[in-house]
């Protein structure tokens, strides 16, 4: 395998061929924020939070799935990158509802942390009907609050690639797209047992372990 040399934020990185921009950046101590990425999962490139600027390209590129190439000059915090990343996070904030303020899981929400880091002010965008779904607490192992879902699809990948269960799917399209189980049914114990792997990968409070016994119906 060949070696690649590229410049990231002015620093030279030397990595193996086939390394993603995201991984290459890490080798020189540069963190690029992500939502839908996990080193354990095949990249899907859907959240577009990890976009970076590669000199000479028309659009920004997703760093989690783009292999770094020799001579690339990359900027991970240029004004174009930060503006786009902020708007993307704002859109995700605007698109969902949920117990963001009161919920005990809020402190674990990666989206909220991202929004704080990017210092978004008053929301610039609104949705006609932000996603709202009733909380599903039918399963003693996984509580689903799909109102908090940002469609990163990590649960789908983790269930398929790590748990080898393939419980989740994605249905509908556009803004109506939703992570679903079977025919968009609640997650019951008949479908899913107790591995809980998806919970570890959920970046928001959409999937969690039920804390109060009373919540399980």
């Amino acid at each position: 395998m060949g070696k690649i040399t590229a410049t990231i934020n002015g620093t030279e990185a030397h990595v193996d061929e086939g390394t993603t921009i995201l991984e290459a950046a890490r080798t020189v101590g540069i963190e690029i924020p992500t939502l839908c990425h996990s080193p354990d999962l095949i990249p899907t490139g859907n959240c577009r939070v990890c976009v970076v600027e590669v000199e000479g390209t028309r659009t920004l590129v997703g760093s989690c799935h783009t292999p770094i190439a020799n001579g690339m000059v990359i900027h991970t915090r240029s004004p174009r990158v930060l503006t786009a990343r902020k708007a993307t996070v704002e859109l995700l904030m605007a698109g969902h509802t949920g117990e963001c303020v009161t919920d005990e899981h809020t402190s674990e929400c990666d989206l909220r942390k991202l929004a704080d880091e990017l210092e978004g002010g008053a929301p610039r965008f609104l949705m006609r009907k932000p996603r709202w779904y009733p909380i599903e607490a039918f399963n003693p192992y996984v509580r689903r609050d799909m109102s908090q879902c940002v469609l990163c699809r990590k649960c789908i990948s983790a269930c398929r690639e790590i748990a080898k269960k393939n419980v989740y799917g994605i249905a509908y399209r556009g803004f109506a797209a939703k992570v679903i189980v079977d025919f968009d049914d609640p997650l019951t114990t008949e479908i899913c047992r107790d591995c809980g792997i998806c919970i570890d990968y959920c970046p928001t409070g959409a999937l969690s372990k039920p804390t109060k016994k009373s919540e399980v119906k």
């Binding site: 095949i42 249905a171 679903i180």
Partner: protein
């Protein structure tokens, strides 16, 4: 470090006929039933959720039974400019249902669709797979009467 695995690396070719199969079910039964989706999922080793996700992605597949005649009126700009809204109102009046509905007798389903590539004969519609263009209220009545 690993070479990037790509998004298609988990797909086997046995899925090639999946869409064809779902379309056939739509054609034969007027919808893709839960049984059909379950059977398809099992035969291909997919989850039911994945098959449901595919079915709900495509606008010519339906998880609810559609009528014998599915009327799809184009609502995109070129047809809209030639008074598609009047045609929509006219069809609604003729068959007594709104877009998104199916008549009680299961004869007609009424849907609005995006551009069907008949802009030169706008306003246009599809009834099942037949295209009708340069629609007028008079023509609508005649076409609908011909649906037997």
């Amino acid at each position: 470090m690993n070479t990037i695995q790509t998004q298609d690396s988990l797909t086997g070719r046995e899925r090639e006929n999946l869409l064809r199969k779902l379309k056939q079910a739509q054609h034969d039964f007027g919808y893709v039933s839960k049984d059909m989706m379950t059977e398809t999922a099992q035969s291909l080793g997919l989850s039911i959720g994945e098959v449901y996700g595919i079915t709900t992605f495509y606008s010519f597949l339906s998880v609810r039974p559609l009528g014998k005649f599915v009327i799809r009126i184009c609502k995109s700009i070129p047809c809209y400019m030639q008074n598609a809204e009047m045609i929509i109102a006219c069809v609604a009046d003729e068959i007594g249902i709104k877009p998104g509905e199916t008549t009680g007798d299961g004869k007609f389903s009424f849907e609005l669709t995006n551009c069907i590539g008949a802009c030169d004969i706008a306003p246009a519609m599809l009834i099942n797979h037949q295209v009708y263009g340069q629609l007028t209220p008079g023509k609508i009545a005649e076409i609908l009467r011909g649906c037997e």
